[in-house]
């Protein structure tokens, strides 16, 4: 599907969902702020920072290994909030980045976080480090830094691939409390095995809302929930219609079957 007019039903559905999300963001920004459920793992952020500070060890952050895409931005947004907490605790942060542009955004994010907490004195230029964009060279460098600087807490939020376990397991071995999340679902099993707290799937995109209770994010979550409800309904109707179609096909009711395809089953066909 290269253009919207290849199938207006499909693009229409996407526009409808987009509209619902934006509308809910605006409603929330006007002051009608919703609440959301607990996300296990995120409550432990302050505890992890507190313990690292007590031990006199810095906190480590990695915003994934890809360039500036939506997943990385969501990760940076979560890390920005965490950096503020770290600054408030008066602790140091080490952020490792695998992309030059992400490095730039991360530098600003972390510096701002320290400025907001009034602790500019704690921030130095070496705190946000670009290593390389080569996947495993980055992993080698990160594993070395984790072993040498022994962070007391590690926050892994971004796009991770096969190397996820290298960070998580080396961090685990030096005794860091680790909290991780990624939109790359295949890596979640490894985070589950090696980290103390893992946020799963869409929780990754809901994390900022949960940490900050910011109306914009909360409104967005409501929009996403309504969209999910629409999708579930569509699937359930689809199951019923497909069953009738199967029955019709088996009993020679071809006319019915053609209509079911025309008016529902094939609407979203691309």
């Amino acid at each position: 599907m290269l253009h919207a007019n290849d199938n207006w039903h499909v693009s229409g559905l996407v526009v409808l969902i987009s509209f619902i999300i934006v509308l809910n963001v605006i409603i929330a920004q006007q002051g009608k702020v919703p609440t959301i459920r607990r996300i296990p793992g995120l409550n432990a952020i302050d505890e992890a920072i507190g313990r690292a500070t007590e031990m006199g060890r810095p906190a480590l952050m990695i915003p994934g290994i890809t360039g500036l895409d939506v997943g990385t931005l969501a990760g940076l947004s979560i890390l920005g909030h965490i950096a503020r907490s770290i600054a408030r605790f008066g602790n140091k942060v080490i952020l490792l980045s695998a992309d030059p542009i992400v490095t730039g955004v991360a530098e600003e994010t972390v510096r701002d976080a320290y400025a907001d907490a009034g602790r500019q004195d704690l921030y130095t230029d070496d705190d946000v480090r670009y290593l390389t964009s080569e996947q495993f060279a980055f992993a080698a460098g990160a594993a070395g830094i984790i072993n040498r600087e022994k962070p007391g807490a590690a926050f892994l939020f971004g796009n991770f691939f096969a190397e996820s376990l290298i960070f998580a397991e080396t961090g685990q071995q030096i005794g860091a409390i680790q909290i991780a999340g990624t939109p790359q679902t295949e890596q979640i099993p490894f985070f589950l095995a090696a980290c103390d707290y893992v946020i799963i799937g869409e929780e990754y995109y809901a994390a900022s809302a949960y940490i900050t209770r910011n109306p914009t994010y909360l409104g967005s979550i409501v929009g996403q929930d309504i969209s999910k409800l629409i999708l579930i309904t569509m699937v359930l109707i689809g199951v019923v219609v497909a069953s009738i179609d199967q029955y019709a096909g088996a009993h020679g009711l071809h006319h019915l079957s053609i209509n079911l395809h025309k008016y529902y089953l094939d609407l979203l066909k691309t």
Binding site: H3, G80, S97, P183, Y204, Y205
Partner: protein, 283 residues
């Protein structure tokens, strides 16, 4: 106006070529200067406008009705991609400055571990130099005599195939160690969740390796309709069923949620509805 942007051959009209470059740069810097002297309260809006424009092309290209796979904008897809690639490539300096600054400082101050930092800096310059030499003059002989014949491309291969290639595989294979220790630690009957994690992993493991499949090898293979039913209980078939019938819908459920989250985040960014430390700061 359109004529102004036409290509000019630098060898035939060097004067015109450089004049255009100078004028173009002057106008660009002029625009930037105007943006910079604009009152500070407009800065947030300026950023919002540019963010919106940055995404507008792709949105418009997608939604404008197309005939035969292309519309008025489709022909510019390559150009837009090229512009983003080229501008993005300039950012490489951000990374290089960040890393080299730190390590050169270490070498200059001979602070602990400066030897390693020196190794990093030397490898960096060696790779950059021989990478470029390999691109421009791969066959040029560097060392010759006493049975030796070393070209630029040989040195590049030493660094690339011998170094980067092997080192990458080594780090990749390190995951094998970690997967073993992580499995040992995580697969415990500690809670219902960790028990489920363990059970599924063990079934898949047994189903995919020699001694596991031996366990149920007394069951028929299933190539005969009479015994077909019992073949379902072979461990490799149970493993396959788990991956297809349990794993697939679970992954799809996650995908639904994640994609919606991604869409919401993208919309907030594009329309500058995003809030948070980076986006809220007064500039």
């Amino acid at each position: 106006m359109k004529k102004f942007f036409q290509p000019i051959n630098v060898h035939e009209h060097p004067g015109a070529f450089f004049a255009h470059i100078a004028l173009g740069l002057a106008v660009m810097f002029g625009v930037l200067a105007v943006l910079h002297v604009a009152p500070k309260q407009y800065r947030k809006s300026i950023i919002a406008v540019f963010t919106f424009l940055g995404g507008l092309y792709y949105v418009a290209e997608f939604f404008l009705p197309a005939k035969g796979g292309s519309n008025r904008l489709t022909q510019y897809n390559d150009l837009v991609a090229n512009i983003f690639t080229v501008v993005g490539a300039y950012a490489i300096g951000l990374g290089v400055i960040s890393l080299l600054q730190m390590h050169i400082r270490k070498v200059v101050r001979t602070s602990p571990g400066w030897g390693n930092s020196a190794a990093l800096v030397i490898s960096f310059f060696a790779m950059t130099t021989f990478g470029l030499l390999n691109a421009y003059a791969p066959k040029k002989v560097l060392l010759h005599g006493s049975g030796m014949h070393v070209t630029n491309s040989d040195v590049f291969n030493f660094l690339f195939a011998g170094g980067i290639g092997n080192f990458g595989s080594a780090i990749f294979s390190m995951i094998a160690f970690f997967i073993a220790s992580a499995a040992y630690r995580a697969f415990r009957i500690r809670s219902l969740e960790s028990s489920l994690l363990m059970t599924a992993a063990l079934i898949i493991m047994l189903g995919s390796v020699g001694f596991g499949t031996v366990l149920t090898n007394w069951l028929p293979l299933g190539d005969n309709p009479k015994t077909e039913f019992w073949a379902n209980f072979r461990i490799e078939n149970i493993a396959q069923w788990l991956l297809l019938q349990v794993n697939t819908p679970a992954q799809r459920g996650i995908l639904f949620g994640i994609t919606l989250g991604e869409l919401a985040m993208a919309l907030r960014l594009w329309l500058s509805l995003e809030r948070g430390s980076y986006f809220d700061k007064e500039v």
